[in-house]
């Protein structure tokens, strides 16, 4: 059987085929061709859309351009969620490629209604993403090791994590990230599992609480245990049709999967386990 290491590679090299089309309302000099790209699931939109921007700017006048933001079927896409999470949350079970609409203005009525998104869509530079990414890693390590590991790292190690993500360098990233995934053998896991549970049906952005990988009695907690505690509605009741899918990186792990293993292998580069709970498609 394949090695657990292969999971890390599969997760890192996960790609979503995407078709970017310019919003109908944008003013263009000539018709804009759609742009096709393979987006890394573990990255963030602003890190990978430079080419998209360049492509569409070619057909636009400079004065018509404000700031680029992206939207999928009426939902603005938040830059600070990993791309894979955005896809799983909004577009899983749809036809590929993923069709994203590109906006360069903030005047559309959709956004006006959801002004709170403005901040979330507003990303001035890569350093903002870097700050967000690093703070996620620190937060995760605070949960996992009381911040001991991340604080023991040197500045250049932090940089290497970020550069690894930015440049899609798996080896470079994991050379450092490995240390963040260690734990004392006798404890059987991290202190707490850094996780976030997303749901489409709620206004709450996500659920995040303290949860240990091992119960006080020494039993290993599973994905099912986590959901039972955090989001019981996501679990199917006896004899009932499955109402929700629990998706991580586009796959549905069995509920018996140990949480610690998931955290080590299916976490995003920000060291959080991002879990999407979406309604089961009804077809």
């Amino acid at each position: 059987m394949a090695d657990d290491k292969d999971v890390l590679r599969d997760v890192w090299f996960g790609r979503i085929p995407t078709c970017f089309t310019l919003n109908q309302d944008e003013v263009t000099e000539r018709e804009a061709e759609p742009y096709y790209l393979l987006l890394p699931r573990v990255s963030y939109l602003p890190l990978v859309t430079d080419k998209v921007k360049k492509h569409f700017l070619k057909v636009m006048k400079a004065e018509d351009v404000e700031e680029m933001w992206l939207e999928y079927e009426g939902t603005p896409l938040k830059w600070h969620y990993p791309i894979g999470v955005l896809f799983d949350l909004h577009a899983s079970n749809t036809v590929l490629p993923w069709s994203i609409t590109v906006h360069f203005k903030f005047f559309c009525p959709l956004v006006a209604k959801k002004l709170q998104y403005r901040d979330l869509l507003h990303c001035t530079s890569n350093s903002v993403i870097e700050a967000h990414f690093m703070s996620s890693i620190k937060e995760a390590d605070a949960l996992k090791h009381k911040s001991q590991v991340v604080n023991d790292m040197q500045k250049k190690d932090h940089k290497q994590l970020w550069m690894g993500l930015q440049n899609d360098k798996f080896d470079q990233f994991w050379a450092i990230n490995r240390k963040l995934m260690e734990y004392p053998t006798e404890e059987g896991g991290f202190r707490y599992i850094p996780f976030r549970i997303y749901q489409t049906m709620s206004d709450r952005p996500f659920i995040q609480k303290l949860f240990r990988p091992v119960s006080p009695e020494g039993n290993v907690h599973t994905l099912g245990d986590l959901l039972k505690e955090m989001y019981p509605a996501a679990l199917p009741n006896d004899g009932e049709q499955k109402r929700y899918q629990v998706v991580i990186h586009g796959i549905e792990p069995l509920l018996e999967t140990p949480l610690q293993w998931l955290s080590e292998h299916l976490s995003h580069p920000d060291n959080f386990l991002h879990i999407c709970v979406i309604p089961t498609p009804t077809d």
Partner: protein, 1207 residues
């Protein structure tokens, strides 16, 4: 690291074992009765059962314990009858031992005990000195005793032949009683300790077993060997006092505790004298409180005093077995034991839990903290009914002591509340009032709460026994005299004591427990199962209670059901438990300790069952590959969002500069990595240096690097980088990092980079070529299809080698991926299918199949002396002489103190000892004599000898990790696997090996799925062997230690071990040392470095006809399934330097020309071993008729013809 067992006895006498890989105590169900004490070695466990007999449990292993009985049949010729058994009156017996002095008829041989069985009947040995005899196994001589030959001559007047019969030890994995020695054993044993397996070089199985009798005498068990696991007899060891407990370490330490509380140390234990010669006295750690218990390891002594304090003895080693002083340690323990690697186990005096001493390393022998071993027992769930039963029977078996003890302990709880530990006990004479209380207390208890009768049994009653009896001399005297009477079944009444009807427990008339008896007997009659128990209860006395008094457990008093809460242990033995500071144990799951962050991404010590694991993991793997199909496979033509860019890593290092004078200079080092045009990764390494103030650099493309070789020595953390060009020059780029860690980081990074640039990932293929350097590092190369192509093979120096974790001396493989290795310490290892390990961390290493690997080797130095007429041999040499302490060459001074382990990875694990196993033999003190330095040495002094030397050895140990798992228990010296492809993964693959002792072994059950196989089949030989190889069509060739070759006849899949050996004379005047058999070719190497090819081997005559010399300066040969021939050659001249230990490939090998034409030189020097037996890939056929006549071959760096390797 292989799984080994920790043994323990609980307070009810049940024996449990805990595996180093396990998470629960497994009860030894086989134990028919309760045990008091156990003492374990790796291959067996000894114990004293409650019947006071000693039992032995030999763990079943692959190699049966068998013993060869032999006797000689002697005949003399006379003119009338020819040869007949009518001998002269002055002659020997018709059937005698080899000397002829002992009459040995066949029916005189008896099985030593009921644990043995005969394997078959007597048969005649038809071989004589390795060669088959004419008929009936006779060998002839002129007279007795004389030199025998296998040929009958005109003057052969006598003849003899050897009869053989094997007996086998059958009592494996079961407790077998050691037959008691009727004559000399007056009293039962109370303590037992085994050890001593490291004293000499005897193979595993030799033990020193020490025992203490109730009267305080010490006995030594003679003659315990692998072939005689039970030993032969007890010998009493004279003593300065009376001993209560003894401990024997793996080496030469033996300590014992005296009744009076002092300790004695055995002196003079050595290789030839495992029993030692005398005792030295050591005072108790604390002047007022006597010692009660002692435990010794290789270099440590731990002791307990009566107040349960723990003490560590400073400065103990084999030169100073007494040590220098006591250090008080934390913790209160009732019993302590030192296991393998000086690891310490103890039983807490309060909670009776087993504690493991954490952090014991060779540099910090006293360890750091006590950590409780908290794992469940396999019987815990069904405890209530089952164990209640066994408790009861425990009570019965322990007869007198048990009940008496429970009585006393309860009493004590009332009178001295809170004193619950085993040391606080009652001495009859000093606390009479407690016995006044006792009756009332006890007469109530059984009636009101029958459950509280759960006997407070202890199998360690003897510990406490001695504790309790430290008191007025009179008491202890009395007690001791009563001791045996209490415990022995056929008792002789002592000094006016009353003899009890059955068991014979003595009742002291002065005691007043009479009124109690009915109560007790009533209770016991209700529940008791045997008469024995009954009577035991009836005659319980305060006297016996004080004798065995003891261990007052609180469980029954405070909570009758307390047993369920946590197990109470009485005795623990770690002598068979191989744990060291690197071992990861799952024994401590309940206790959370946040102190250390262990580097272990892999350690999933989660209690998920394997079945579940498979299900959820499988689901993830499947879904991920589905996801790839769904989301990526149809969209490969899409552009990637992130362009690959250059990534640079820089550092400073030292470089062994190319120009003369060569020396280390500081350089900047950089690795630039980038993605090539087709998405493949590549890189360049740069070395920036100053050449006469001018900045220059040297570079190498990562895709040209053929190998990275770590060259650790005591002063530099260096490694060598080879490219094909550098291999030709025999001059690699040598770099040295500041620290070992830095070196490993760089090596891991460079290695990943090289593998990426060549698209190599994951474990080696089944066809891979394996090789080993003289440092024990393991390298593997993926053969290209054209490696064996004709006429243009891939040049050998272009092969890419990558390292695999682990440390081996020999590795052998075949083409279905079965790989075996042998360590320097002769341990056999099987490849697990992983990759990485060692310094490879994270992604360059697999996780599921990497294990700890330990290897041990000896470092040797020589002590040299010259004779002078005045003082004899002294260490004053001539001015021209070598150093008085030197290496083997005599050129370098090597003293005991300045000698360091070979590299920082190695640590000393023993002290310097004299090595007697030097070739040429030694005298009793290890000296070898010669006329002068340097010369050939012999083992005895003659008139012409003026110098002598002796070799000292010191063991050092390396601990690393790699994709290897131990195949216990037999140490091997050679191994070979049938190279040809098997039909399916369950087909059995022949695997042969030579044990360290020279036995030929055949491994059963080896398949691609179970590469470790199941068990060894022993193949009979008449002399020890040293090399073996199996080629196509099951041709098995072997080399005996005397340098001759043997062919094994009739080996087939039906008869995997064949039927007999055919002797093949070696090339004239040469002693062969190694053999390798390919498809049809048979190659051997002799001790002078000559490579020989066997001529005339045909299917109908597989033995061949003669040896043909191929080449010289050859160290090792490997012939593969394509008949390809690879060697390790010495003295290969490169353009810059000469190298020894170079991988060479025979060119021009063709079906009609199996000897080939010339050598192509690959990686080296410093290589020790290669196997190409996995490479069965037929090269693509190229038909170039015009070229076949043309020689020389257009391959660079080759020399034509056979003596090519020389220079």
């Amino acid at each position: 690291m292989p799984v080994s067992l920790l043994w323990a006895v609980d307070v009810y006498g049940r024996v449990y074992s805990l595996s180093t890989a396990g998470q629960q105590w497994e009860q030894c169900r086989d134990a028919q009765m309760e045990f008091k004490r156990v003492t374990a070695a790796q291959q067996c466990c000894w114990g004293i059962a409650c019947d006071n007999n000693i039992y032995l449990n030999v763990h079943a292993s692959d190699l049966p314990v068998r013993y060869q009985e032999e006797t000689y049949e002697n005949q003399r010729w006379n003119p009338v009858d020819g040869f007949s058994d009518r001998l002269l009156p002055s002659d020997r017996w018709q059937l005698s031992d080899v000397t002829g002095l002992q009459h040995q008829p066949l029916d005189n041989f008896r099985l030593p005990s009921s644990s043995w069985e005969w394997e078959g009947d007597w048969y005649v040995d038809e071989n004589f000195e390795g060669e088959p005899t004419e008929k009936e196994g006779w060998s002839y001589a002129i007279d007795f005793p004389a030199t025998y030959t296998k040929d009958k001559k005109w003057n052969s007047c006598v003849r003899r032949r050897r009869w053989l019969r094997y007996r086998r030890y059958k009592a494996m994995d079961t407790w077998a009683k050691i037959p008691s020695q009727q004559t000399t054993l007056p009293d039962p044993f109370s303590d037992i300790s085994c050890g001593g397996w490291e004293i000499n070089e005897e193979p595993r199985g030799r033990l020193s077993l020490w025992a203490v009798s109730l009267q305080g005498k010490v006995w030594f068990r003679e003659g315990i060997y692998h072939h005689n696991p039970e030993g032969s007899l007890w010998e009493e060891v004279p003593l300065p006092g009376e001993v209560v407990q003894i401990s024997c370490g793996p080496g030469d330490l033996v300590w014992a505790v005296l009744w009076e509380g002092q300790l004695i140390v055995r002196e003079g234990i050595g290789r030839d004298c495992p029993k030692g010669t005398s005792w030295a006295m050591v005072d108790s750690p604390s002047p007022d409180v006597g010692a009660t218990h002692v435990a010794v390891g290789v270099n440590v002594v731990w002791a307990l005093t009566k107040d349960n304090k723990v003490w560590f003895r400073r400065g103990v080693n084999s030169h100073n077995p007494c040590g220098s002083g006591w250090i008080s340690m934390v913790g209160e323990m009732i019993m302590i034991n030192v296991g393998l690697n000086d690891q310490v186990l103890a039983i807490g005096s309060e909670d009776r839990a087993v504690y493991f001493r954490q952090g014991v390393t060779s540099s910090e022998l006293s360890g750091k903290t006590w950590k409780v071993i908290s794992v469940p027992r396999d019987g815990d769930r069904s405890h209530s009914s089952a164990s209640a039963h066994s408790l009861q029977s425990a009570g019965c078996y322990f007869c007198g002591e048990v009940r008496a003890q429970s009585l006393v302990s309860d009493v004590e709880s009332d009178t001295e509340k809170g004193s619950t530990d085993g040391a606080s006990c009652i001495i009859t004479s000093s606390s009479p009032e407690s016995f006044v209380d006792a009756p009332t207390e006890h007469s109530d208890q059984p009636i009101e709460t029958p459950k509280s009768r759960i006997p407070k049994v202890t199998s360690d009653s003897f510990i406490s026994e001695l504790v309790s009896d430290r008191g007025p001399g009179k008491t202890s005297r009395e007690v001791r005299s009563a001791g045996p009477a209490v415990l022995e079944e056929e008792t002789i009444p002592l000094e006016g004591e009353v003899k009890a009807p059955d068991v014979g427990v003595s009742l002291s008339p002065s005691q007043s427990v009479g009124p109690l008896d009915p109560q007790w007997s009533n209770v016991d009659l209700e529940e008791a199962q045997g008469q024995q128990a009954q009577t035991g209860a009836v005659v319980d006395t305060a006297d016996t209670s004080s004798l065995s008094s003891v261990a007052t457990f609180t469980l029954a008093m405070e909570d009758p059901y307390g047993v369920d809460e946590h197990p109470m242990w009485a005795w623990v033995s770690g002598g068979g438990c191989s744990v060291d500071s690197h071992t990861q144990l799952n024994w401590f799951n309940c206790s959370m300790n946040t102190s250390s962050m262990v580097q272990s991404v892999q350690s999933m010590s989660l209690s998920v069952t394997p079945a579940q694991t498979a299900a959820w993991r499988k689901q993830i793997f499947e879904q991920l590959s589905e996801r790839t199909k769904r989301e990526m496979d149809n969209f490969r033509h899409y552009e990637q969002a992130i362009e690959q860019s250059v990534w640079v890593k820089k550092g400073t290092m030292q470089w062994w500069r190319d120009w003369k004078p060569h020396k280390w200079i500081d350089v900047h080092f950089a690795l630039e990595q980038f993605s090539g045009p087709e998405g493949n990764k590549d890189g360049i390494l740069f070395i920036y240096y100053n050449f006469y103030e001018e900045k220059k650099y040297l570079h190498a493309f990562v895709n040209e690097v053929t190998i990275l070789v770590p060259v650790l020595n005591d002063s530099k953390h260096s490694f060598a980088i080879y490219t094909p060009e550098r291999t030709k020059q025999r001059w690699p780029i040598r770099l040295s990092a500041a620290t070992e860690l830095e070196m490993h980081d760089w090596l891991a990074l460079l290695s990943v980079s090289c593998c990426d640039s060549r698209g190599i990932q994951g474990p080696p293929s089944k066809q891979a070529i394996w090789s080993i350097t003289c440092k024990g590092d393991i390298f593997v190369s993926e053969p290209s299809l054209s490696l064996e192509a004709m006429p243009y093979p891939t040049p050998c120096d272009q092969m890419f080698w990558r390292q695999v974790g682990g440390h081996l001396r020999v590795v052998e493989c075949n083409s279905i991926g079965i790989v075996w290795g042998i360590g320097y310490d002769h341990t056999a290892w099987v490849y697990t299918g992983g990759y990485g390990g060692g310094f490879f961390q994270g992604l360059a290493s697999s996780t599921d199949n990497i294990y700890t690997q330990v290897d041990v080797k000896n470092v040797y130095i020589y002590e040299n002396q010259r004779w002078n007429p005045v003082t004899g041999y002294t260490n004053r040499g001539l001015p021209t002489d070598r150093y008085m302490w030197s290496d083997a060459s005599g050129l370098h001074e090597c003293t005991k103190t300045n000698m360091k382990p070979p590299s920082p990875h190695w640590t000393w694990v023993s002290d310097w000892t004299i090595d007697y196993s030097v070739s040429g033999g030694t005298d009793k003190e290890g000296w070898q004599y010669a006329a002068d330095f340097p010369a050939s040495y012999h083992g005895h002094k003659t008139m012409k000898d003026f110098v002598r030397r002796r070799r000292w050895a010191r063991k050092c140990k390396l601990t690393t990790t790699g994709p290897w798992q131990e195949v216990p228990p037999i140490p091997l010296s050679d191994v070979t696997i049938l190279p040809c492809a098997a039909q399916s993964s369950v087909d059995v693959v022949p695997l042969w090996a030579i044990s360290n002792k020279g036995d030929v072994l055949c491994r059963l059950g080896v398949t691609a799925l179970t590469p470790a196989g199941s068990s060894w089949l022993h193949v009979g030989t008449d002399q020890p062997f040293k090399s073996i190889s199996i080629g196509a069509a099951s041709q098995v060739w072997a080399i005996a230690r005397d340098g001759s070759a043997f062919y094994r006849g009739s080996v087939s899949s039906q008869s995997p071990a064949g039927d007999c050996w055919y002797h093949i004379p070696s090339p004239s005047k040469q002693k062969l040392k190694q053999v390798s058999v390919g498809r049809t070719s048979v190659y051997t190497v002799d001790e002078n470095g000559n490579l020989w090819y066997r001529q005339g081997v045909t299917p109908s005559y597989p033995q061949g006809s003669s040896w043909e010399h191929i080449s010289n300066n050859v160290r090792k040969v490997s012939a593969g399934p394509l008949d390809q021939v690879w060697i390790i050659a010495d003295k290969v001249q490169g353009s810059h330097s000469l190298s020894c230990g170079t991988v060479c490939h025979r060119l021009g090998v063709q079906p009609l020309e199996p000897k080939g034409q010339s050598w192509d030189y690959g990686i080296g020097g410093g290589w020790d071993h290669i196997t190409v037996r996995g490479n069965s890939m037929e090269p693509p056929r190229v038909h170039l008729p015009s070229l076949t006549e043309r020689t020389p071959l257009p391959v660079r760096n080759t020399e034509i013809n056979s003596s090519a390797v020389g220079c």
